[in-house]
Symmetry: D2
Subunit: 448 residues, 4 copies
């Protein structure tokens, strides 16, 4: 069928969907009118007032009505069928660049236009991030919202472009309203109190950096915490302890990235962390020439979950029958305090964690550990694995106490990144590779 | 033919174009490689370095090589034909929302992606504006660059969204590097010297406001100059003169917008002026409650050009035979200094300028005078026409000395704007309408 | 004896003192050399380095050596005896303005010159404040340090002149390093936690203002906490409670000053509070025109101490024999929770607190209550006395639960201030005066 | 006579003076009342309003009335005679530290107190600087104002203490209202236009730094202009020319201080320049490690005036009879363009300029050239003398085209400064010393 028929089908489908859509509850009508008013906007400047009203109206909606409205965004604010049909027809007649562009424009959903116009209002960007957060919250139960989410993501990827992000240092002279967000959003190692926070910001050998967007001056988007040290850190607790003996930055040789946290749910999937780490590496190198090594101290969040699955399988590719008995020691409370258990477990767990980080891959060939995926994808090298390094309840529960260093070598980042992206190669140190059992190395032809 | 055939045609055409394209001159190769590197970018953060190199390379190109590269952007960086074909095919099979979105994405030109990645670099936004300026400069001779221009415009409309613009007052405490741009970009009434500039900024009854974008902190995008007065201004020269008797702002009742100028060629076609004027009206109202009237003192730049055309026609809709002799007086130098000539011309010219502003329309029903189109389109009212109001050489040459007031009434802006947009109605005062000859009023059914 | 003999006596005395002075302990020598180097400073700019060393040296002194050095400041850094003698002799011969000025200069102590030169160093002002804090700490046991203290006070009165102080609003966007000082220095109603602090800063109906000095950007000197309310506050606890129902500032009619705290011990005796209150009254009036009443909610810190003394006297001017039995009820724990006790005590205590605030005076005729002295001295009016208004342990212990409103009427401040300063008149409301027993009113001819 | 008699004499003299004082003209009364009101100030905060009125009143005075008032400051606002008498009597009885301090305080003039209270008002510091400027303007004709000037100077020396000064870079992003003051106050090499100014600020190899006081944020106090070069500059014109080939700062090895100018007449005699130069040396060293030499290119403003005097003397210590004929060549216009004249003059003038800079001294043993006195007093070394280096009319007229380099060696500044201050030693290079005739070297035992 030709484009015209094709569109009759499309329009019909859309119509069907529309009919099935329940009328908005009381209170939900106004926002629909405001959305249409914004879209029909003839004079752009007057839309500022409409956008402001829209945001206030959305803000006042009940959760139920928000969902109703988001569902409407999916069903009624897709591309304009008539316009799309005309563009397809034109493209059929003249399959040239100009027609392709018109088709591109015609296929743009009306909600993307709506989003841009909502942003005319002060506070618009923040409001739109909130809307996407609502979409993401409803997505599991309402997968049809994926279209709305896709448009948000596309828009935010353009608006939160690296060129618009501003790097700011976070320290003890930072305004309290921003610091409280640092406390709230810290995702890796919880900040319990303001004194706790101060210990991470005030000492001369601590740094914290965040990206901000100019339209939301007091909202950090993502932040990275750094410790400046003279030795490779092998455990997290001493790093976070109340340390009376800070070193002057000029004495430090290691910059240790021990925590990176996203602040905005609404920016899910937008590249921020990789830009942040590289910018911080670049800036610290210039500011503190004594720094030689830029390295993380990272958790291995999915290790025990994976190991438990493997232990449960009849035949695991990784765990031999004999190992299972030893691994059962893990089920005893405080196994790590028992020297015998620990010494039995240590060689096996080291081998498994190495396998988990390097050999176990997703369908697309990436490591299944999200932290490994992030840092290796950024061009870091898997450098060291530390036994009994994080003995907090969370560290034991998730990773049997393991922590990992990923190394950022400024001169090799690009090459590593490309090897990983193109060939799936995980760049790793000899110290790590030697933990990997040779049979696993052989079985998996993916390069390490 | 179905989408698949259709695309074979498209691809072929593209291929033909490609073959016709001359190889880039020496020096132009590197930039193409960098552009492809950016597009293939696997690891986004490393693209910062590539983007930086791209910008430096573009900056170093000769004019000729720039044009070559821009032409390549048109021919080789459109949508990916294979991907577009796949999307069309999918849409044919399932004409649903998801497929429409994929088609939308597939129809996006590769150069739009490229532009976003160039922006990863510091200075990227500025560099992209420069590229569009180059496109616009070459457009008359190379109309095929329209596609590149359209992508720039689409991108900038999103990036220079009202919500991201920052209003700043320009005054005598503004940094010199910004003030020199105000001098350079003033388009309506030339600023000859720094003393001249100071006269427009320093007195208590003068204001100047500009929009800035956070990514270009020292580049005004557009600025508006305001005089605070106690009377309706009827001429421009006294307004710009060295005035020793400034009034305190709290005494002023009129805010006179006497000049609005764009600074960035690269932002052509992006809505800025309407937002700026409305924001300034809103802010001044709040800051200076004594202000009652917000009004422009505007040129009529196209009047004499139009009148000359009409005078040259055998039969003009506007000029009667008898008028032509009187109008011939305009051809004498210094006609405005001769009382007899002036008194003969005055009634006729008033009638013609009223016709020019209200009755003479473009094909789409808008006034042909660009300043009238701008202010009426923003919701202003055509309020007063002033005879012999701008006696500078430019004022006499363009508009026989006429100037016009457009009135911004905060409560009516939206309504006026809608009437103009939807019905083409020009809202005007009785004082202005009475100059319009009744036959012209009748002949043109467009509402006034 | 003439000036010359006179000075022999002086010089001898000084010499004696000097001989009695114990040699500085090891570690205290260097600072003395640095002080002399600063004083002999030929080239002023090189003194920056010396001043820096001096500050570092002082900072490193033990407490004992600090005291040694401060004592030396008293004994060896007074006026130069020879120079003073010459100036007196000259003044004897020519008792004219020029000679008086030379005598003034000659009588300036060398330590005042030293202090000014210490300030050449970055951090000098802060260091000098610390030195005075050390002087004040040692003053009770070493009254001879009064001379050093007097020079500090004279210098700081000049340097912390109103014209150099900067008023800044303290709110939840204030840097954390400043906020932590607000927590630390709050002297009236303790701030226990950061959440506590936030409750005083973040709501729309709370304000806090502080004076800063440009040489110590992150050190508040004094701060004032304000609640914006619609009713006259009669108790402190509700004001500090976690209030979910903040009012918009434009609705408020009362600005309640409920706490004012000095931050710098080293600025003891320097006028700051009166300037701060008047500036805040002026600024709030302009910012929030709905505010009609500027009033404190103040403690009566010395009331019970005074009452206890009077109760202990055989014959009190204030307490009649019959009252004593009733007052004995105060000695029972939780007397305020017992309705009978409270109703017996109320009329008597009201009468005594009124007497305490108005009739009981220092030798120089000022109220003995320090808070009353401060606000009445600033031109406020004693407006209301609140029974059982502060039931915190501190409020009961110090003031039997009483709190007081002092009213700042912008138009009457100057007049009140003068009446108080010149005639000792306490301006008070009828509501307060009526509590004062007529016999006390008669006995004390000081005006109320 | 004892202090008491002594003071009767003093009081009488003061009384006489008072009687001779003419009554202030109409308009001059108010300011006297305001001054007395400020001095009697009981409540300090209310003095803010009085101080504001005082400043407005002073600002409104005619020049004549200003002089009247300044004369009154001299006569009626000296020390309080009664208080001074009491203090002297007490000191006679107890010639101890405490009494000396009281005498010091009593001898303080009332105008110094007045000045401090004027500063309570916004703009007070600026107003006081203006008052001193008025004093200095009237001083030549009214030497009795010296007492007022001395009090101003004493106060400003305390207030404009190095610790309160803020160094800011002046560049092309500096606000225009500050830049216009740079243009106005440049005292060494005139800045004719804004383009001229830009040439000194914008190039990458130019720097300008100024001190500011926090109470006058937009008033530079003194500024220093610097050129970064790769060679020792030997002439001024090329340095100020429109140079298209700026060098990147990192390539520079010389920092050339080619102009230092005071902006505030009212700060005459307050040390600023020496602090500024040393701070700039310190900061530039840190910012641009490639810089090795910090050196001035300075005028010799008094050379020809001195030489002309010596030529006019019958017997000069410096000029031998035979020289006089050659020196007569200087009287011909454009002598420097005549090769023969120039070659005859060159050796002699070099010898004379060396003598002028090093051997010719003031009574107190300092060089009579003010620029030499300034830089040598700051610890610089007289490094090079340049023949025909400043051929501008001013340069030829003042110094026969000579310019001089003074060298600032960070490690030797303190030592040089002390040698100069204590022994009058002028530290100079061998290259300069060799120009000095041996007979002059011998005759003057002052070290070079």
């Amino acid at each position: 069928m030709g484009p015209s028929d094709l569109f009759q089908a499309f329009s019909k489908t859309v119509g069907d969907l529309r009919n099935r859509f329940l009328p908005p509850r009381p209170g939900g009508q106004e926002i629909l009118l405001l959305a249409e008013a914004l879209l029909s906007g003839q004079g752009e400047a007057s839309d500022v007032a409409v956008a402001r009203k829209f945001l206030a109206a959305y803000d006042g909606l009940t959760e139920e009505n928000r969902l109703s409205f988001l569902a409407l965004l999916d069903r009624q604010f897709g591309p304009d069928p008539e316009r799309l049909e005309r563009a397809l027809t034109k493209f059929k007649d003249q399959p040239m660049a100009q027609a392709a562009r018109e088709m591109h424009e015609a296929a743009e959903s009306r909600r993307e236009v709506l989003f841009r116009r909502i942003n005319f209002s002060p506070g618009g960007t923040r409001g739109l991030l909130q809307m996407r957060e609502d979409v993401l919250g409803n997505l599991p139960a309402h997968p049809e919202l994926a279209s709305v989410d896709a448009d948000f993501k596309h828009l935010f990827a353009s608006w939160f472009n690296r060129g618009f992000l501003v790097l700011r240092r976070i320290d003890w002279t930072t305004p309290a309203n921003i610091l409280e967000k640092i406390i709230r959003y810290e995702a890796v190692h919880e900040i319990a109190t303001w004194d706790d926070l101060r210990r991470r910001l005030e000492p001369t050998d601590r740094r914290c950096f965040a990206f901000f967007h100019p339209a939301m001056q007091d909202e950090p988007l993502i932040f990275l915490q750094v410790a400046l040290t003279t030795d490779l850190p092998v455990a997290i607790v001493p790093l976070l302890a109340d340390n009376k003996n800070s070193i002057p930055p000029g004495k430090a040789t290691y910059a240790v990235f021990y925590s990176i946290s996203n602040c905005q749910v609404g920016l899910k999937g937008i590249s921020l962390g990789d830009f942040l780490i590289k910018q911080v590496v670049e800036d610290l190198k210039r500011e503190i020439p004594s720094l030689k090594t830029f390295i993380t101290l990272s958790p291995v969040p999915g290790f025990l979950r994976w190991l438990t699955q493997e232990r449960g399988k009849g035949a695991s590719n990784y765990i031999a029958g004999g190992d299972k008995d030893v691994l059962a020691l893990l089920d005893k409370p405080d196994w790590h305090l028992d020297a015998t258990s620990a010494s039995l477990l240590k060689p096996r767990l080291l081998s498994f964690v190495a396998a988990y980080l390097m050999a176990v891959r997703t369908e697309s060939g990436k490591p299944i550990d999200p932290v490994a995926r992030f840092h290796l994808g950024n061009g870091a090298r898997l450098e060291r694995i530390h036994w009994l390094s994080d003995l907090t309840p969370k560290g034991l529960r998730q990773a049997a106490g393991f922590m990992v260093n990923y190394l950022y070598e400024p001169d090799r980042i690009e090459r590593n990144q490309e090897s990983f992206a193109v060939h799936g190669e995980i760049v790793s140190s000899h110290a790590v590779r030697k933990y990997l059992r040779s049979d696993i190395q052989k079985r998996f032809p993916i390069p390490f």
